[in-house]
């Protein structure tokens, strides 16, 4: 009994940290609709700043808590600076474009932190006066964790007072409910947003600095926390502080007791929980229906156009690409092969985002399933390459068929997070099912047979298959299917009333996108010779999103240009310098600022003006 109590208390201490970080995220999202990928970076830098201050001043209780507060405030200032310098310029860009900007910030912050604090893990000092433990029913329990448990509700209470008893809080709540109306009533939204970013990032920094006495500060903290914080926000219901609190408590307890019952399930337990909650409750635990954010590209003013002479242009490009082996060396051909594969991967995601208004955070699931489909056929059945390649889209399509049925029943960020949950579940299966998938050591020896082993031959094969798939995707976009999908995106209600079964079309789009991504994955497996769970992991999904957003979501050619630019940038910068994340991040931020509609959007803007 006493053991269970202490286990529950441990869960509460975990929950407190989760709540601090995710409350900041939910506030920022609720007001600005920005999916702030950099939230975890503020948590990490908060921890580093906290570590430095605590090493210097943390010898006394006043010094320690002063250091924590100072680190939190510093993160708030950085957050406000990011709003003024970057995000403010993007409010008129397509929704989610800020996501790309914050992703650039993540990369920049990672390298700057490594540069400033060095690569080694830093173990900070313990909180003075709270070093020991007390016995609770004969079980020792750390004092500091007790303080954390108290801090959670305290911060919740303070935030509640701030939002319900101050004028600023009232304005923020007003902006959360109706941004346009609030600004029409004379409230400067820019200043409000700066304040909100300050608050949100300060909370992230506070959560980070409070970790110093519990664990060492590392360069991996940012990605570790940001996904979990998103889960909490979505499970709780977006924009709902009490929801975030409740979700933190549940997830904290789930982790504390989950490891007792199934020690092996740690990888996926949080995502399983999120999937169950989202399937049962469309808006999270405490979210309200009217607060569901439209993540569809609502600012699309020009409908997707077929473009004049698109056909000849595409054929000319294809001919040019097909001629590449005449001049390019082996490595350039390999890069081009990867670009073509990634272009199909990005285009398949674009089908969901651009046409369906469905932003997926887990698109790598289908890419990876395709890769695994091919690899498993080769490894377990000794299938020849053509058969294995045919199997890739089938397995991915089947996966998407199942997951899609659940996902399209949700919208906005709830849809996005449900796709992420499915991706994580698929990932953990690949990661843990050793007998079949080889676990994290992957499947090796998936090389093309002799007739396709030449770099040029495999490139032509890839170009042919991807070109064909891209042509089909484009056909779909301008077929009645694509129009129905866009009708559902722009006005679900009107689409329903003219007899379009929006959900069914979205489901079909999901399966189509999954199938296309699966083909890309299968080709990727043979290009690399091996598959690993990393192909299904979050960074792969993020890469796809970045490619789509970089190219611009309003044009069919966008994802192709995005894949080309992103992949070449990444691979070339990576071989030039160890600071490639800094360089890449800065380039992304610059691109976002210069081309707020994506590269292709910018180019077609010029053409229209001319």
């Amino acid at each position: 009994m006493s053991f269970l109590l202490v286990q529950a208390l441990s869960g509460l201490a975990t929950a407190a940290t989760l709540f601090l970080v995710s409350s900041g995220l939910t506030i920022v999202f609720g007001v600005t609709r920005i999916v702030n990928f950099a939230h975890g970076s503020f948590y990490m830098v908060g921890a580093y700043a906290g570590w430095s201050l605590i090493e210097r001043f943390g010898g006394t209780p006043a010094g320690f808590w002063g250091s924590v507060a100072a680190a939190a405030l510093a993160m708030g200032v950085l957050g406000a600076a990011m709003e003024i310098g970057l995000l403010r310029r993007l409010y008129r860009s397509p929704e989610l474009f800020q996501l790309l900007g914050t992703f650039g910030v993540v990369l920049v912050v990672q390298d700057l932190t490594a540069w400033a604090w060095g690569p080694e893990d830093l173990l900070g000092r313990r909180a003075p006066g709270l070093k020991g433990s007390i016995d609770i029913l004969d079980q020792p329990f750390p004092l500091y964790d007790l303080v954390l448990i108290g801090l959670g509700p305290l911060v919740l209470g303070l935030l509640w007072l701030l939002f319900n008893r101050t004028r600023w809080g009232t304005l923020v709540r007003a902006a959360t409910q109706d941004r346009e109306m609030t600004s029409a009533l004379g409230v400067d939204p820019a200043r409000l947003f700066t304040g909100v970013l300050f608050l949100g990032c300060a909370l992230a920094g506070l959560g980070g600095a409070l970790q110093v006495p519990r664990e060492s500060v590392t360069l991996q903290m940012d990605m570790a926390i940001v996904v979990e914080a998103f889960v909490v926000v979505v499970v709780g219901g977006m924009g709902s502080l009490t929801g975030a609190f409740l979700a933190s408590l549940l997830i904290g307890q789930l982790q504390a007791f989950g490891i007792l019952v199934f020690p092996q399930i740690t990888l996926v337990i949080v995502f399983l929980f999120m999937a169950v909650v989202l399937v049962l409750r469309p808006h999270g635990l405490l979210g309200r229906a009217e607060e569901v954010p439209p993540t569809a590209p609502a600012t699309v003013t020009v409908p997707l156009s077929a473009g004049r002479h698109a056909g000849p242009w595409a054929l000319a490009l294809l001919a040019l690409l097909a001629a590449a082996p005449l001049v390019a060396g082996d490595y350039a051909l390999i890069l081009l092969t990867e670009v073509v594969i990634l272009a199909l991967f990005a285009a398949s995601l674009h089908l969901l985002i651009g046409l369906g208004g469905l932003v997926s955070f887990g698109h790598a699931a289908w890419f990876g399933l395709g890769a695994y489909g091919s690899a498993l056929l080769v490894k377990h059945l000794g299938a020849p390459m053509p058969l294995a390649l045919a199997g890739a889209p089938v397995l991915a399509g089947l996966g998407a068929l199942v997951a899609g049925w659940f996902c399209v029943r949700r919208s906005g960020l709830y849809f996005a997070m449900l796709t992420l949950a499915f991706a994580q579940i698929v990932w953990s299966i690949a990661f843990q099912w050793y007998a079949v998938t080889g676990g994290d050591n992957g499947i090796l020896g998936v090389w093309p047979p002799a007739w396709a082993a030449g770099k040029a031959t495999y490139y032509w094969l890839t170009l042919g298959l991807c070109g064909g798939a891209l042509w089909l995707l484009r056909r779909a976009a301008f077929a009645p299917f694509g129009y129905a999908l866009r009708a559902g995106r722009d006005s679900g209600l009107r689409a329903e009333s003219v007899g379009i079964d929006v959900r069914r079309f979205q489901w079909m789009a999901f399966v189509l996108a999954g199938t296309a991504a699966g083909l890309a994955g299968g080709l990727y497996a043979f290009a690399k010779g091996s598959v690993f769970p990393t192909l299904l992991a979050v960074p792969q999904s993020v890469d796809a999103l970045v490619m789509v957003l970089m190219g611009g979501i309003q044009t069919v050619a966008g994802p192709l240009a995005g894949a080309l630019v992103f992949h070449l940038l990444e691979s070339e910068v990576m071989s030039l310098t160890d600071w490639w994340r800094l360089v890449l991040g800065l380039i992304i931020v610059a691109l976002v600022l210069v081309f707020p509609k994506g590269i292709v959007g910018f180019l077609s803007g010029i053409r229209r003006r001319a």
Partner: protein
């Protein structure tokens, strides 16, 4: 003869100004770094090379895991400078290294390996830290018939179940390190054991080997609890509590890095280690022990690298050269990087050729003298006999270190040649 003029990709040509800038800044940084006595010495009497340089393509997770890979890089840099100052390889040729980051992803590593082979015309591949990346590059090496010296990956698969003709591995494998610890664990009176290990192949095979080998030596032990935290995301409080609840006599730990620090802190706070022996993999390596400062665990039985206490002349010379060159103490990664490059050079010299097949033949059975003693790449399974130091952790002068240690020669902890050969796929 292979052509020696790397062809740049079209984009590289486009990016030439940028590349120039980067090269320039790297050159400046290198110049600043090399302002040590060693560099001054070699500058006095530059070595003349009569033959074409031999090129090594080196890949590691420099941005993914800088805390471990930067000391490793400094290790091979030191070795490289020594090799070239002593006349290079085959007595005629400069050894050149082209180093690349793999971003911690196996598919990036394969692309980088391809770039090194086709654009940089390297003759040997070396490096990698993560097991899955090591395996991906090993498979690439076999496919492209390139010799590959895997420096740091620990997985048994790279030399056994997925071993191939072209791949050799230096560092003692998971099996070897587990076997070294079992020897000590079997001497303990403890009968009830609990295990905690990260939830991936390394953790799982470490625990599996430990259980199997300990049961063989001590049929009376039982394993009463196991915890499998996610690598990098250990929930310290609940994990410690769950282990304590099983009331084990001893604990086998495989967690490392940030997870280990959390585990130690929380375990001390909750009295998990009171009256319990802990046997722990790799914890004695400075990479893991030093960040914990005075909170490093006391009395754990570990494998590691007590660099400051090893007083063989060869090792003392290595430590002196390393600290003079980089102004910091060596880590376990440093010695691995150093021996890796020395082994590559020795293989090339033994082969008297920069071609793949002779180098592979030379690597099989190659013995070199290293700062830790003689190291042989076994011809049977391509595993090096580099060992590890087994001892007990302690805190001295406010930092963690090892005491009562001995060098466990890897040769004594490997299955016999026949058995090892049987575990490898047929060639």
């Amino acid at each position: 003869m292979k052509h020696r003029h790397p062809t740049a990709s079209p984009l590289a040509k486009l990016l030439r100004p940028a590349a120039l800038g980067a090269t320039l800044s790297i050159a400046i940084a290198a110049a600043a770094l090399t302002a040590g006595p060693a560099a001054a010495q070699s500058a006095k009497e530059p070595v003349k090379f009569s033959g074409a340089p031999v090129r090594v393509g080196e890949i590691n997770s420099y941005t993914g895991l800088p805390a471990f890979t930067i000391p490793y890089r400094q290790g091979w840099q030191l070795a490289l400078e020594e090799i070239n100052a002593e006349g290079g390889v085959i007595g005629c040729c400069e050894l050149q290294v082209v180093s690349r980051d793999d971003a911690g992803k196996p598919d990036d590593a394969v692309r980088v390996a391809q770039e090194l082979v086709t654009n940089e015309a390297v003759d040997v591949l070396a490096g990698t830290y993560f097991s899955h990346i090591g395996l991906a590059v090993a498979d690439f090496a076999a496919r492209n018939k390139m010799p590959f010296v895997a420096a740091e990956p620990l997985t048994d698969a790279i030399t056994w179940s997925k071993g191939n003709r072209y791949t050799f591995r230096l560092r003692p494998s998971t099996y070897m390190q587990a076997a070294m610890l079992v020897e000590e664990a079997a001497k303990l009176p403890a009968k009830r054991w609990a295990t905690v290990a990260p939830n991936y192949e390394y953790g799982q095979s470490a625990v599996a080997w430990f259980r199997q080998l300990l049961k063989e030596k001590r049929p009376d032990v039982e394993f009463v609890a196991e915890q499998w935290p996610v690598q990098g995301k250990l929930e310290a409080g609940p994990t410690v509590q769950a282990l304590a609840a099983a009331k084990p006599d001893a604990i086998f730990n495989v967690t490392f890095g940030a997870d280990l620090a959390k585990f130690v802190r929380e375990g001390e706070g909750r009295g998990l280690f009171r009256n319990r022996k802990v046997v722990s993999l790799l914890t004695g390596e400075p990479e893991y022990l030093e960040p914990m400062k005075d909170e490093a665990p006391e009395g754990w039985i570990v494998t590691g690298y007590p660099w400051d206490q090893i007083d063989t002349p060869a090792h003392k010379a290595f430590v002196a050269a390393y600290t003079a060159r980089f102004k910091e103490s060596p880590k376990a990664g440093s010695i691995v990087g150093y021996i890796t490059m020395k082994a590559v050079a020795a293989a090339i010299t033994k082969a008297k050729s920069a071609n793949a097949e002779p180098i592979v033949d030379a690597l099989a059975g190659l013995t070199i003298d290293s700062p830790v003693g003689p190291v042989t790449f076994r011809a049977s399974d391509h595993q090096a006999t580099m060992g590890a130091y087994v001892g007990t952790t302690t805190v001295k002068d406010g930092r963690g270190t090892m005491k009562d240690w001995r060098y466990a020669d890897g040769a004594n902890y490997l299955p016999p040649d026949d058995a090892a050969r049987k575990m490898r796929p047929a060639e």
